[in-house]
Assembly symmetry: C2
Homo-oligomer: 146 residues x 2
DNA sequence: TATTGTTATACTCTATAACTATA
DNA sequence: TATAGTTATAGAGTATAACAATA
């Protein structure tokens, strides 16, 4: 077995590199952690939502979301409102400072995504898209079966 | 921007899931860390090599390799021999216990890789392969330019 | 003076679970 | 009894750089 052609290894190295491209923007230029960035990105498209919705959207654990939200609230980027439908939970909403930050980050990371994907022809992009979906389903099967 | 269709996010989630599939084998069943597994896998195909070669093959930092090697040596899985060509370095080689461990892990992780890739038709696999290579090159450009 | 590999240190991240308040 | 979210804590991983030995 050649590790460098082993698919899971290739994906891990590739993913690390792509993540670094994006992290250079949200971390180095805007001081956000990955979790904070994900919470902001999820909130920006949502308006006002419950924590559980964020957890689902971002693929983060409730604990990670809890901590990221605490930091973002402390920094004045979002607010937590009591949930009228469930006294245990909160509704989360970006504040103007959070929206402004998001508006600055998005074009930069989207430019990077575009630069990456421009390496592919439209039909290659389609195949890649479907391949990721199919592989992801199979990976989930394996993870679940242990 | 919808985070769930943002390519770097999709790749990160996908990669995490695939890594988990493989880690279930080498970590949960054989007690290896990711770095230890990479060092063993690289060594297994190489025979006797210098540390620098491992660093190159595994995409790990010299410090991570140094620590993984120290643990693997302590556990009797590999040995370090003085490098006759360079008194600063070492030659690394798997011991029988290391080879035996590798021989047990490989079929299991390869079966998982096969199960994943069987989701794709041969031509899809080719496109995926080329796409990863092209995207990876572009990502490296971005990482380097900062 | 540069390079190989080790060690130190502080920091972040992760995983598990206990805990509170409410349903 | 179960669930939403918080907190505690210990362990693992990460990043930076200092360091000794050798080139």
């Amino acid at each position: 077995m050649d590790i460098q052609s082993f698919f899971p290894y290739r994906i891990a190295v590739f993913s690390e590199r792509v993540s670094q491209c994006i992290a250079q923007v949200y971390r180095e230029r805007f001081g956000l952690t990955r979790d904070e960035w994900r919470v902001i990105a999820a909130l920006a498209e949502a308006g006002k939502v419950r924590t559980a919705w964020i957890i689902d959207k971002t693929t983060l654990e409730k604990m990670q979301v809890s901590r990221a939200v605490a930091r973002l609230e402390r920094d004045g980027l979002l607010e937590r409102l009591p949930d009228p439908d469930d006294g245990r939970g909160w509704l989360l909403r970006l504040l103007p400072a959070g929206k402004a930050l998001y508006a600055k980050v998005v074009p930069m990371v989207q430019a990077r995504e575009t630069f990456l994907l421009d390496a592919l022809a439209p039909d290659e992009r389609e195949v890649l898209d479907r391949a990721l979906t199919k592989l992801s389903e199979r990976a989930e099967v394996l993870v679940r079966q242990g």
